[in-house]
Amino acid sequence: MVKKLFKFLGALIFSLFFILQNGYGSDREVIDRLGRVVRVPIDPVRVVSLAPSVTEVVFALGQDQKLKGVTQFSNYPPEAVNFPRVGSYVHLDVEKIVSLRPDLCLAIKDGNPIDAIRRLERLNIPVYAVDPRNLDAVMEMISDIGDLLDAVRQAEMIIKDMKERIEKVKTLVSRIQERPKVFFQIGVAPIVSVGTQTFLHELITLAGGYNLTQGGVSYPRMTVEQVLAMGPDVLIITSMTRGQSFESVKAQWKRWESIPAVKNNRIYLVDSDIVDRPSPRLVDGLEMLVHYINPELLKQTP
């Protein structure tokens, strides 16, 4: 009888212990942007970022002391280069990640390979996936990461600043009569442009331009012939194409005098990292695009 009582008490204490641990422990459950329930530490201190954009957000939130690893092409801010590398965004080095003993990995939905994410989870490493598919979602992503890293206030400040600057651009752009036709070139050989489902399309449209290659194909391949026929008013080339200088690409377009952008010398270079990387710097990119696409708007303001 006494034995039974002891057994019962033991079981009770045991279960209480578990309840306490779950209720007041150092973990909590959140739902990430892949719709999965993820157990994350309340205050993670060993974070591995699985994309350059995530690294930028963590730095912008001032939480870089929690960062323990970044991906190969994390180049902004410059300090990010000094962190251990865990492979590239599309080819993660799982062993390296595990060896950094992360208590949280931040991944990108539809960017990092899902196999690698599942793999990390099976090794008991929590992975939270963000989904920065457009400008609004980038702000969601900043708020998500701020929430995870205990930097809610910083996140709110960044988002407020971004929203204000976007609003400013919107009021400016509402004054234009006609949208200049923009051809945005992200690839040189072959010539590649951007469709509707991209950041660049969103930024061009917000900046008061008309994206000539909008449509269902995200990264359509174009020919010189097609570009000539469309007659863009503005030609913007990103620095994405490595190894080829902006000047040589510009010189190639210069041959076609019939393009309005060539006639009026409106060919510009933009750093691809600030227009296609889902980070707070997208707003810098947006303001730069306004400057290139609708320069007269900026002249009117005092």
Binding site: Q72, V90, D93, L123
Partner: protein, 340 residues
Amino acid sequence: MNSLKSHVIKRIFAVCTVLSIFLLCAMILGLSTGSSGGEILTGIKMVFSFFTDDASHDAMMQTIIWQIRFPRVLLAALVGATLSLGGLVFQALLRNPLAEPYILGISGGSAIGAILGILVGLSRFPGVAGTAFIGSMGTLALVLVMASGQTVLKKDSLLLSGVMVNAFCSAVIMFLISLTQDSRIHNILFWLMGDLSLAEMNQVMILAATVLPCFLLIFCLSNSMNLMLLGKEMAGSMGVNIKAVTIILLVTTSFMISSTVSQCGLVGFVGLVMPHLLRLLLGPDHRVMVPACIVGGAGFMVACDLLARTLPQHGEIPIGVITAMIGAPLFIFLLKRSKS
């Protein structure tokens, strides 16, 4: 007859012991090095501390060794064994020392099937493995039809048709890739040159369950392969059903090649390097060569994977690049020698 058999068994045993030591060394090295850094010696200690219950047991290191490196090493071993055995069988059946699944386009055919499977969104097993098998059978048939009409498949015609099938396969692969818009394309590109980096235990188990029975079947038919090399009449008079054996061997080999391709992409020339090296050392007896190719090929591949992981400072080289860099010069050398 009996004494001959026991002699063969003794030889098989001796050869396998030596090659197993090579394989074991390669595996231990493979387990003790990796991208998380650290000295090789401490790595080896870590590997052995698992068996000795050492106090220096480091949980994180043990996870890395047994859950990340171990499946990868095993997968490399299985793939190496399959590909070199595949090379051996093709060389025997087609009586052509230059035959090899990659060169003949069998691997390319499975790659087309596998990519189609991936693009349609099938699961890796059995979906992608199935489409890869269909692809490999298709190219096998194509190669055989193109090179048929001769009793002995001539070196040049067989190789030429293989080269053409391969060229066609790469064109189809590039076509499929240029049609794809989404982010899966990066994975496919890595996978095309051979990618073992995402090896997992259940994947290894599935592959083992599919290829190990094939190994056994091929070993059982190894004496028939010996007889068939002596000539059709000879083999027929010794009671070998040539047609049946040929078909069984071709289908089995294509099956196991396509399962490895669906798991880890295109890895070329392994089926050329190991069989030739071992034939030089051991002679042409297939009863010895089949087990030797299995164990030796496994060791070779584990060693190549080790190179692929450790040569670059960051990231890794696709394993197909390493095997091709070793295998292609050897192929040219063999071609030159067989011509003179």
